[in-house]
Symmetry: C2
Subunit: 232 residues, 2 copies
């Protein structure tokens, strides 16, 4: 019996792409800059997986995604002709703490919370997930992130940390994600799995994660549908 | 500037004593038993600090307070002439997840949450703190417990774990507790401190923690007063 749901967050719960693009465009307007926001975001986001992989391979010590994004931002800004003060760089890095939930996410989470313990299980920093929840009103019962394990998904330690902290059998916890690789790793640890595709996470040209890659325990159209399928 | 408040929970946020006594008395009624509930609770609670000290000294591996309480319960029940099935023992152990907040706690926390990040920093198990929050409606932004550090307050690792996860300077975090020893340890790590006395935590005969033992940054009558003093 499922007792708790853990959620990938970037992409699965929140629409990071349009949220960050809006802030980049507002920055360009405010600074009267010509800025290719889509290209800028693509180049910024591209630092995310390699930065995490360095930690997972042990070639880098533990580094939060906030630090990975800030380091990349400091490289990118001059390349795009943008000059910002340190406090402006800090504020722009924190855009990853101000992301809009997908339209169905809050209503679905509130229904699911009545019956299940809800936690993010994200590669975000712990404080980043806390601030995002406060900003977006995400009704988590607790916060668990890669930072609790000091390595990144899909490393098994991340899922095992959640299983241990929640004090449940792996099969009593369902991982919810828009990414097949995340669910494959969770299944590898014995967790239940739910796929909620987010076909526009990477914009209109997205080619990955459009469909389930395995027979996941649940495939739901969105979080409201997930709540219905889980009896809420 | 304070950005987050961390709370001792047993005794500071919730009134464990009368909550557990009520359940023991209800159990005695249901089972038609003669049970000295106050003595039983005193003997049960007496296992708490020694069990944690064994972990802190390294003479015991990491053990949650749930496991410490369950082990003691299994010893105590026959001594008091009570025979329970395994599932009843499990349910009674979980009484520590069903504790009433002090009358001012919820209102104070809701006011404080508008301005500050709120987290427990308790010696409870992680799942115990999550379940207690769901049961009592505690509006935490996240949950941090001794289990995240795998040792117990007042070991410095527990406070340091909270400081690291919250990504703040120690002085930006205020420890709130009804126990002077807890605040002394938090101050030792550079945290701000608030004392909220709970003169009836141990019942009418309580002799400890009736007054602040040091000049804590804030001394408040209760959580509503704390909210007022912190500008909420």
């Amino acid at each position: 019996m499922i007792r708790a749901l853990t959620f990938d967050t970037y992409g699965t719960v929140v629409d990071w792409r349009t949220s960050v693009l809006d802030e980049l465009r507002a920055l360009a307007d405010r600074k009267v800059l010509r800025l290719d926001s889509v290209l800028f975001l693509d180049e910024w986001k591209a630092a995310y997986r390699p930065g995490m992989d360095d930690v997972n391979r042990g070639t880098s010590p533990w580094t939060t995604v906030d630090a990975i994004y800030r380091r990349r931002l400091v490289e990118l800004l001059p390349k795009h002709g943008v000059s910002l003060a340190t406090d402006e760089i800090d504020a722009l890095t924190r855009v990853w703490w101000r992301l809009r939930p997908w339209p169905d996410a809050l209503a679905g989470l509130c229904r699911l919370k009545r019956r299940y313990i809800l936690s993010p299980l994200s590669n975000a920093s712990f404080i980043g997930m806390v601030e995002l929840a406060r900003w977006a009103g995400l009704p988590w019962d607790c916060v668990i992130t890669a930072e609790n394990a000091r390595c990144y998904k899909p490393r098994p330690e991340v899922y095992r940390t959640a299983i241990t902290l929640l004090g449940l059998a792996p099969a009593e916890i369902m991982m919810v994600a828009a990414h097949n690789y995340d669910l494959a790793a969770a299944r590898g640890e014995g967790m239940a799995t739910a796929f909620v595709p987010r076909a526009l996470e990477y914009g209109p040209g997205q080619t990955t994660d459009l469909a389930p890659a395995q027979a996941w325990d649940v495939v739901a159209a969105d979080f409201e549908d997930l709540a219905t399928r889980l009896g809420c």
